[in-house]
Symmetry: D2
Subunit: 440 residues, 4 copies
């Protein structure tokens, strides 16, 4: 309704890339610059939003943006300042309870589903909280003894990667919340239409004993390690993700009414929730309309299909006579490809078509791609010691791995070994799929 500042207006000339940071040999000044950049990005994201916008929570899985702003701050306070700055005084004793997400090792947590019931601290107070913690972190980085620097730097880098993850959630959570407002408020500019999708095709990959996982020199989350060997058969991956137009063909062919295409749990989900289309699709007289950050607009058959559950991805693949790739296949195929995309820009349509039909395109920065792999620990996986060890390991049940990165992901945040994970019914992320099949 009202005109809003775009979320990400400034084209950063110096985009962050954590994939090039080596914690052992870092430059404190550089780290302070990176710290400020990530922290400012969060604030820029909410600059055009009202206090009420920032306090919306449309489901227990999503959180108010104000809460994200405070929680990412609490993370630095809890895992960096309290352990490493002896004189640090917490900004408010209640925040340890209010802004702890799920770290049982730290203490109790305010009930997740009630986060929008925190009108206090208000938006300004959270802004002040952020500034006080920023100052303390910068002071710590500038004054830390040499023998502590590596550990401090590692925690800062973890905190910045953590904040980037929440920046993506801020986009998805706000999009979900605003979809409940019948006035269809826009909160960023409408992206320009793009050209047609790249031509589809299959790219061959050879199997054998392959090595996957992060090598460990630069930053990675613990769940990407340890690097290990896997036996793999020959396989093919589709050049690009499935498009909205292709998915609409599945729908026109009765895809949502044919139990033979679905996993049993997926079919039950379709029946129990009356699912008939991807999230944010609405039938109108002129065809399908899509709710986006910029507006409701007509579905473009060339853009990647998005906001589908694992169940829908699986059913589509069945219908297409193919399957989902495993996460190992995806990683092997993506390794070496440039981490390019429209990251953190807007909800984009699709890349310009690409001349070289032998290469995969749109691996990073368009949509997260559901894989056939359940989220599990790599052989020999050891979570970090202490409460921060709850970061990843304890979620290794009932969720599926997604690979790639979406238009809401921060640039520089992802890599070929990066493992995202959500429950099979989750749809509010920018989640799509790429087909795979066994080499005949």
């Amino acid at each position: 309704m009202s005109s809003v500042r775009p979320l990400f207006e400034t084209a950063d000339s110096t985009r962050l890339d954590f994939n090039t940071i080596v914690p052992d040999r870092f430059d404190p000044e550089h780290l302070v610059r990176q710290f400020c950049q990530v922290r400012q990005t969060t604030e820029r994201m909410v600059a055009g939003l009202s206090p009420e916008d920032q306090n919306l929570q449309s489901m227990p899985d999503a959180s108010p943006l104000k809460w994200h702003r405070a929680h990412t701050t609490w993370f630095f306070e809890t895992f960096l300042l309290k352990p490493h700055d002896p004189g640090y005084q917490p900004v408010n004793e209640h925040y340890a309870y209010l802004f702890n997400s799920y770290y049982n090792g730290i203490g109790q947590q305010y009930p997740r589903a009630h986060r929008s019931l925190m009108s206090r601290p208000d938006s300004d107070e959270v802004g002040s909280y952020r500034e006080q913690v920023n100052d303390a972190v910068i002071r710590l980085l500038e004054s830390a003894p040499v023998n502590k620097l590596a550990e401090i730097a590692a925690t800062v880098v973890l905190g910045l990667n953590h904040e980037q993850q929440h920046q993506e959630l801020m986009v998805t959570d706000l999009k979900h919340a605003l979809s409940f407002n019948p006035m269809a408020p826009a909160w960023t500019r409408r992206p320009d239409p793009q050209g047609p999708a790249a031509e589809q095709g299959w790219v061959d990959f050879s199997g054998g004993v392959v090595t996957v996982g992060h090598e460990g020199r630069t930053f990675a989350f613990d769940n990407e390690t340890p690097r290990h060997e896997v036996m793999l058969g020959d396989f093919q991956l589709a050049r690009r993700p499935v498009t909205c137009g292709e998915f609409a063909a599945f729908m026109d062919d009765g895809g949502y009414e044919r139990p033979d295409l679905w996993l049993a749990d997926g079919w039950a989900w379709v029946q129990n929730h009356g699912i008939e289309a991807p999230l944010y699709w609405q039938r109108s007289e002129d065809g399908w309309m899509l709710h986006t950050a910029g507006c409701w607009r007509e579905m473009d058959p060339h853009e990647p299909i998005c906001h589908i559950s694992f169940y829908e991805a699986f059913a589509y693949a069945q219908w297409a006579g193919a399957r989902l790739p495993t996460e190992v296949e995806w990683e092997i195929a993506a390794r070496g490809e440039p981490v390019e995309g429209q990251f953190a820009d807007s909800e984009r349509y699709h890349p310009a078509s690409c001349a070289d039909s032998g290469r995969l395109v749109q691996l990073f920065g368009d949509v997260w791609e559901w894989t056939a792999s359940s989220y599990a620990s790599y052989p020999g996986f050891r979570p970090a010691a202490g409460a921060v060890g709850e970061y990843n390991g304890k979620f290794m049940a009932n969720q599926m791995v997604l690979r790639g990165g979406s238009c809401a992901t921060q640039p520089g945040h992802v890599r070929a070994t990066y493992r995202n994970f959500f429950y099979p019914a989750d749809r509010w992320q920018f989640s799509g799929l790429r087909l795979a099949r066994d080499t005949a």
Copy 2:
């Protein structure tokens, strides 16, 4: 936590009293003054609150204060301006959907449980909506043709009484929402402590054929009519409401663990929800603490028991060897008593004790009193024509009548014939009880 302006800071020298307004013979200027006064009271109530405070919704039964501000405005727009002002242009076409509470005759309604998902219109936009409608109403009152004046005045007076009801809900809904914040934010000043409760005793009333209901000359809600005769036995009413100290004795005697004291549905409610005390009571090392608008403070045994359900009121009366009064008994006893109390001031403790032990005290303005009467139509009841007829009649099932008025009720709003009604399990209103018994 932060210091807040008291909600009701100005002592109005000219308190409204709708019980003295005779719609047939009213003075337009006077009505404009009353209109402005009621509308300004609503805005004064939220003056110290942040946009986030105003958008809280802690349960489907409660609404955000911003929504109350908009809904009461929509009421004038819908039932006054649209029918009576041919040139009126609605402020926003979406508001008819967003701010309709339950009037099916008007159209669909935004889902009640999702009201806090409306970040837009924001608090300022709602303020502007209120001003535009105020201007239009005043213009209409100042320019209405003489032959329409009575009907217009009746609708304005209904709208003002309606807004006063929502002013009370604003207090109870905000209190409920803030109780979820562990930082215990205060939002009005703490009331001064009062002296001891009035001495308890029984007052005798004679039965026979009595006449109840509103006589109809001044304003009353339709549910107070028609006036009619009822056969009544002799009865006694307690001088004053039950106090917190008396209710605590019931609790100490195992009141919440003895099924023999409870209605079957009440006992199921106690079991299913783990009820152990009135709403807003919390056990501490120093005894019971009560959440109030001003703070968490110690329970004062002299103040009236409050925030109890009908089930708790019933169980207490059983335990005390008495019963709840019927609404007819209450009305007969209250008729003629002055409508005095601490209305709309704060959460008060209790009145000073009263020398005349033969009279009932605290009938109005302390706590709503649960009666034994289910909410039903009076013989010959006819709701108003059109959608405004949905105001009262359609709720005449499953609810119980409360009489009196509470410290959150607007002064001048209630009278002896006034019928409030809530579901038997509701507790977020300022609801208490007064005992009754048959004359031996």
Copy 3:
């Protein structure tokens, strides 16, 4: 599917009539005969049913027939034998827990919703339980000291009335359970079709101070007392209940889609449960089909409408420009009319038309008639002492009174003062309505 013995095959020449029993002056032999007759009726009702049939429970509100057989036996064991027979040994110590329905004064109860999980005791063991208790009761009646006889007789008569109530529930609960079986099993013979419905019309009644409630000489439930005076206006009652054909006209007129006809809670119930027709109605190519005890058969427009909720009864009355009668109006009108009907025979259609158009017909024995009165205690009501006092009083909240009696009611069980009560959404009883209106 298979041929089943009719439930009530023997035309009893000596029908029980508790309305003629005066506990003070009873004949032990006569009481023994009555006792045997009621107890045998229960057993005859299940004679054609398999053990699985008897153990069905289709919702928490309904119970397995085997449980009804055992619970009514437990009633005599608990309230008669244990207090009055010093040497009595309970048949099984577990039964006090398994077969207590809701008497908290007696002890804990097996969870109501799990009653069908009691495979043991099996059907034969329950039969043996019944016989052992029968023998003990008869022995007690034959040997009781004279000074105890009145109290013992009163308890026996209460137990027999209690069992008759459960006999009606056995019909309604089994009907509900069998409706889940797509093979549509019949469990009694199909009743013969009847002639057309009686001509409809209004019968006038004069108001004033009237006396209602049971006079207390013969048996009555405590909730029918005390007899008391009520002020009543003039009113009219419809000659006969509303028919299926009349209700179908309401449906054809969009009755289930018009919120203006419904109470707010009723409309929410319609929306939340997708209600489109009375219970047991199913649309077929040939029109409406009704599930009955005997079969699925075509709806007969002349039979009384049945299996509707209070909400549906209210909406129909609104649509018809009338209202529901209060229970006082019903009682005044029914007093003096013969208690005749098709009791406990089958699901009947309607009585033969009646020449005398000035009289009410079908008051008893066709369908229970929803009234506008919520179920509440009469002025001065005192429940019986002890656990048996839980019989009626504790249900006096959230339920509505029904008057009359249905085709599933035992002959002799009801009278003009009899008060039945169910929740407004309940439909599995044989519940219909009769219209009322104020005298113009």
Copy 4:
């Protein structure tokens, strides 16, 4: 309570072993003998049970035994007789709907949660259904043309394996249902106590590229194929499953109160359901009591822990400083071990201790062992064509693999490649765990 025939009284001298059947080269007479044996085992299992016992359903996941008897019969009717016997007339047209479990390719299904609402067909009618289908199957086997024999035999063998799976479910479902009866009915004999548990220890296994999956010559379920290579690290498996005594030490150490030991979903499950012990454990004055098929008896610290969820197995392993094995590790370790155990005998304690400490014991026939592997398709997996292809593949989401076999599994039914699967919260199966760890 009453004395019941043991479920499995006859020691079969000729135990079935499907692991030795080669469908291509089978002997029809032999297959008829096997068919009769499996079908008779089902009937012997219910011989001592009442019709009510057979119709119990305590949760949607479990089914009445009568339903199992009918469903396994429907399987032969649907997948064998209808396709292969042109003259076959279904016993009852309704059964296709009532007894289809989840085969959407066949048609609609009666709602799973309502299976105990089928009182008809009754137990005898289901017995007759079984006999009619048995006769038809035997006639088909004896008269089938040679060129159809292999396909017919394969379907018969699948149907028999299917029935054996349901025989295990009959044990677990009945055990669950009877646990709701406070009279603690026994339904089989109490097993004799056994000696102490085998000494615990670690057995080493070498990794590398290993081959897993069924080789395909004899019968296997489709989910065991295709055979394929996997890269595996060195690992160690515990000699025997964890015992009740060891699990009790975990409980005494606060295992159920320490979130650090649990997966996030597991901890939520513990909190939401108030889990404090394995299923069927009840604290008494004399220590833990266990509900078994034979009685409530004292927990024996030497018997394998049983009736635990995946979450509990995971938490125990965390506490013990170990982990769960993957299904590949389990299969590699079990391959070559004899498939011995107490199958289908009773709820046994544990095997006699074993002298050779270098070998794994109790792999088969005591408890199913939770693995760390989610249930997924093997590379190149292809389900069977047609509706029977719904047998396994569509369940490959959200479930975890269990390996081994339990005391309720039929002898000859399992093998090293066998994959059982349940949801992580399921506990009503005989599920336990064996520890694993990486070789240091």
